[in-house]
Structure formats: C-alpha cells, structure tokens
C-alpha cells in the first residue's frame, strides 16, 4: 500500500496535477460538493422530504442578502416554502446518484461489448458496431420521452416518483453505451496485435481470460477519461429530462426538476428558485469536465486541445 502511494507520488499524473491550478481547484470543488451531497442529512439545515418542516407561508422568501430575506433561510425558499439550500443539497445528491449509476451501467455494457467485439472481430464486431451506429442516430431524448410517457401511463404518475431514479439510470445508461464500446474497441484493436497478447495466446490462455486479464487493464486510462466526461453528461441529461418534466418529481427534486419548478416564477421576480440550482449544476458539471480535460491531456498528450 505504501509502495503504491510512493509510486503515485513519483508518477507523471501527480506531477502534472501539482502544476495544474485548474485541476486542483476543480478537484477541491468536486470533492466538497460530493461530500456535501453524501452527508446531506447532516449538512442541510432542513429535510425537504419531510412535509412537517415545510410551511407554505414561508414560500418565495428571497435569499438573505435581499432586504426581504430571512436569516432562517440562507438562500431563500421555493414556491412550496422549502428551504432552497437544503433542497439544492438533496437535489444534487439525487443528480449525482443518477449520474454515477447511469455511467456505471453504460461502462459495464460498453466496456464488455467493446472488449469482446474488438478482440474477436468479424460478425460479432460488425453486429455490435452497427447496433451502436443505429443507437447513436436516435435522439436519446426522444426514446426517454417515449418510455417515460409509457411508464407513467402504466404505473400512474404517483408511483412513478418511486421508480424514477432507477428509470433514469436505465434510460441514460442504455442510451450512451456506444460511447464506451467505441472507445474500448479502439484501444483493444491497438492492443490485440501487441506481442504480449500473442505471448498469452502461446501460453494457452483462453480468449476470455486474455481479454479480461491482459487487455482490459490496458484500456483503463481511456475508460477513466471517458468516464469523467460521461458523468458530467449524465448529470446534464438527467437535468434535461427532469426539466422537461420526465424525470424526478417535484416532491423529490433533482437539480433539473428544481430548475424546472422555479422556471414559472422567474418572471414574477423569484429568480433564485431557478438560478441557484442552475448555478450549482453548472459548477458541478464544470468541475467534472475540467478534471476530465486534465486527465485526457495527461493520458493522451497527442490529442489537440479542442
């Protein structure tokens, strides 16, 4: 363990990280946000899921720095009288869970398909890559809208709230696997003909073993880079779906549905209900994307900065 730590301290990754201010700041912001999200019940002043703490009389109170603000609600309240700060923290938690869950699903499907299609080639490869092309030529929003409409009709709007999280994970996860499959396939094609793979074949290992134990570890760095970007994308997709009213219901809001719920009040002067969760979403996605850019530059220095 100590040796691994020592190795890391000598590594190029750590060396470049120490010299990249943007990466350091992004990581700090991201870690802070994730910690807040994880410990939401401890950090948040109120529990927005508990109807007893909500008083409709407190609705649309502006943030404290406004003249009409109240000390009890640091960032004001929304139209239902929920504390904005607490709602945003819980909303970010939901967003992050969906983002990570969706990426885990994408990665699992995409990596597995990419590895086997890339290594075996031939018909298997053609089939999955054409499937990926077809999938990418659909707008995932269209599919999501369709599926969510069907599901809401089937189980009813009330119960839809309970299954919204796994549903969003599934929709976003299934719609994005081709990204992983293509990336992994490309690096498998590069690794497949290297001599260490031939040496493993000469040693008599089965192809499944070679794929998982020899080739897979060598595709990890592109997977890592892609994953950071995909988490940011998944968080945004979730926000987009929720904003359209197809995602998280308003009583268990994610950042996207918060933005949506405040949108109708923006012209009545209660800008904060939309703007603050929007800002948090931007900060969250930006810090993930900046880290992703940094990792991409380190692992693939030949790539041009876009």
């Amino acid at each position: 363990m100590m040796k691994a730590l020592g190795n890391f301290k000598d590594s190029f990754l750590w060396y470049s990280f120490k010299r990249d201010k943007i990466a350091i700041i992004s990581l700090l912001v991201l870690v802070l946000l994730v910690l807040i999200a994880v410990f939401a019940p401890l950090v948040a002043p109120y529990n927005p899921y508990d109807p007893e703490t909500i008083d409709i009389m407190n609705s649309e109170i502006p943030p404290v720095w406004d003249e009409a603000g109240e000390g009890a609600f640091l960032l004001g309240t929304d139209s239902q009288g929920r504390d904005m700060l607490s709602t945003m923290i819980y909303g970010m938690r939901v967003s992050i869970i969906i983002g990570l869950g969706a990426v885990a699903l994408q990665a699992f499907l995409g990596v597995l398909i990419g590895l086997f299609a890339g290594y075996h080639g031939g018909r298997l490869d053609s089939f999955f890559m054409r499937a990926a092309d077809v999938q990418l030529s659909f707008s995932y929003l269209m599919v999501a809208i369709f599926m969510s409409a069907v599901l809401q009709a089937l189980v009813g709007v009330a119960r839809f709230g309970d299954i919204a999280v796994p549903f969003l994970i599934l929709v976003i996860g299934f719609s994005q696997w081709p990204q992983y499959a293509r990336t992994v396939r490309a690096s498998v094609l590069a690794e497949r003909n290297k001599e260490y793979v031939e040496a493993a074949r000469v040693a008599g290992f089965t192809s499944t073993r070679i794929i998982l134990k020899q080739i897979f570890p060598n595709t990890l760095s592109p997977i890592l880079v892609l994953s950071t970007i995909q988490v940011a994308n998944a968080v945004m997709s979730e926000a987009a779906l929720s904003f359209l009213g197809l995602g998280m219901p308003i009583d268990r809001p994610s950042l996207g549905s918060l933005i949506n719920s405040g949108f109708e009040f923006i012209f009545s002067g209660a800008w904060w209900i939309t703007a603050l969760p929007g800002l948090l979403l931007v900060i969250l996605v930006l810090s993930i994307n900046m880290l992703g850019d940094f990792l991409r530059d380190v692992f693939n220095p030949k790539l041009y900065k876009g």
Binding site: Y196, E198, A199, R201, V202, G204, F205, P217, N218
Partner: protein, 336 residues
C-alpha cells in the same frame, strides 16, 4: 532424447486482406464480382527440426519468416499443409486439445517493450502461465520455480514485484525468455529475439540462449535477418524468399558456398568487419509483393541466371550431394 521434434509439410498461410463483404465487391465488365485479395505469406514450406537443435530461418522483411513461426505456434491457422509435433498433427486442434503442446512449445518475441504486459508485474507475468498449466503446485513451489528461472536467465529474483517499464530492453528480453521457460518447454520459437537490442546486449542474450539450450536440451526455431548471428548460432539454416524456402542446409556448408542465386546475393551483402570495398552481388529490381506472386520461380524477376523454365515452372526443393536442399532449376540442371 533426440529424433524429429517438429515436422512441417507443405505449409501454406494466406491472409485475406480484402476487408468486409462490401469492400470485396468489384465492378468490372458490366458485372459485379466478389474478389478477395490474398497475401500469400507462406507457400509450400516443408522442413523438419530435431530435438535440441537450432534451426534458423533467415530472409528479408516480408519474406514470411515471422508468419511461419507464428503459424507453427498456432497463432494463425494454416490454410493447407501439416504441422506435426513428435508425430502428432497439431495444426487443426482446438484450444483444449492444443494445451498439452503449448506446454512443450513456447515463443520469444522481437520487441522487448511490447512483449510484456505493461500493467502486470514480473511476478504476474511468470506466475500466470505456470499456475495455468500446473494448477497442482502450491505457493511455495511456484515461488521456487520463479526464483529458479529468474536466476537461470541471469536476473535477480528480487525484481519480480517490479513493473516492466522499470527494466531496460535487455533485462526485459531476459524476462521474456524466463516467461517462456517457466512451463519447461522443449522447443522455442525465437522471433528476432535480439534485433531490437544493442550490440553488447545482443551478445549477452545470445550467450544466454546458448547456455539454456545446453542446460535444458532446448530446440530453437530461430527467426532472424542478421546473417552473422545466424551463422554463429545455428546447426541448420533455411533461407526464405517471398514465402518460399529457396535453400536449406547445414550452416557450415551454406555459408561457405551458397548455391541458390538469392542466397549468394544475400551472403555477399553482409558487411564485413575488415572493411574494404564491398563486392556484393547487386540484384536488379525489387522484391515483388506477396499479393501477386510471380509465376514460376518467385525469384526469376531478379535472378541473373533466369531462363524460360524458371519463368514457367515452380522449382521444388531437391537434395544435392552434400545434403543441402535447393529450390533452383539452375542448380538442378548444373548451370549454376
């Protein structure tokens, strides 16, 4: 134990490089045709290799020598012909049936930087094949075997927890050899094992290979383009040109007096240490592509002794009085 270890008979290996169905369809003379483009890498190769012997295959790049080695190792399935190991056919076995032969036949590769998995420690690289082939060994026995092989290839057993990038090319090549040796094979295909190394390191690896051969009675199929190395190391040599074997003989007589015109040109091109103006035989033209093989003798386009028969008829290997085999009409007819 001696006797024939490996015998290869009329081996062919062609690669289809025409891509998918759509790429293969060609339009000509008002019709669509499905046309395959084949690289004819190995054509009608036959030879035998005895236990404990070093048989070298030399030739220039693209002559099919590496493909030959890989086909013998079962990395590519042959298109036609037979490969026998101690009399058993091994060219059309499935994965399971091949396993016992994998234990006996191993391979050492050219590029010491690509032949070790960059994400595996040396220990993992050595341990995996050993445990796979001998699952009955306990941890202590595995460790003993790894230590023993590391010492044998002249590496420090303490190094096994390191990653490949911590080693120089020569050390990596030692570890590659250790990986091949760990399951105790009796036959090793060595594909240009020293051509990526520096001169002083080359000598170390060659010495190591010769020592190991003595200790373990290994047989080598040594694939190389460096003729001086081949001359030093091998018992017998086969010279390949464009996928075919043009001359096959004991090392001494081959280097003393090459008979095939291509072998002659090849030998004369070796730079001599003593210097002086080179007097190499110039070949006209260039090596044709293995996609469109010349008719008749593959060398006829560049051969100074070419005649009508060479253009029309493919020469077969025939044995001369001194035991060497030459595939040349000119030699057969006594013209050369």
């Amino acid at each position: 134990m001696s006797g024939v270890l490996l015998s290869v008979k009329n081996l062919y290996k062609h690669f289809d490089i025409s891509g998918g169905m759509l790429d293969q369809i060609k339009f000509s003379r008002g019709k669509f045709h499905r046309k395959k483009t084949l690289v004819k890498a190995v054509n009608n190769i036959s030879f035998e290799l005895e236990a404990g012997e070093t048989f070298s295959v030399v030739g220039e790049s693209g002559c099919g020598k590496s493909t030959l080695g890989r086909t013998i190792m079962g990395l590519y399935p042959p298109n036609a012909g037979e490969i026998r190991y101690r009399g058993d056919r091994i060219d059309s076995l499935d994965h399971k049936q091949l396993l016992p032969y994998r234990k006996k036949m191993q391979m050492v590769f050219q590029d010491p930087y690509a032949s070790l998995n960059p994400r595996k420690t040396i220990q993992q690289a050595l341990e995996d094949p050993l445990r796979y082939h001998s699952p009955q060994l306990n941890n202590g026995e595995v460790k003993d075997r790894i230590d023993e092989v590391m010492l044998q290839v002249g590496s420090d057993p303490q190094w096994i927890s390191r990653m490949p990038h911590e080693f120089s090319g020569g050390q990596r090549q030692r570890i590659s050899i250790a990986r091949a040796l760990i399951i105790d094979p009796e036959f090793i295909v060595a594909d240009e094992p020293i051509s990526a190394l520096d001169v002083s390191i080359q000598a170390q690896i060659l010495n190591l290979m010769m020592d190991l051969q003595q200790q373990r009675n290994l047989a080598y199929l040594f694939i190389a383009h460096d003729l001086s190395v081949v001359e030093h190391l091998s018992d017998r040599v086969g010279v390949m040109y464009l996928g075919t074997m043009c001359e096959l003989s004991e090392t001494g007589i081959l280097f003393e007096q090459p008979r095939h015109p291509y072998t002659q040109a090849l030998m004369s091109a070796i730079p001599k240490l003593e210097g002086g103006a080179s007097s190499h035989t110039r070949l006209k033209g260039e090596v044709p592509t293995p996609i469109n093989l010349p008719r008749g003798c593959v060398f006829h386009g560049r051969c100074p002794y070419v005649n009508r028969r060479c253009i029309d008829e493919v020469p077969q290997l025939c044995t001369l009085d001194d035991g060497r085999q030459v595939a040349c009409h000119g030699v057969e007819e006594g013209r050369i």
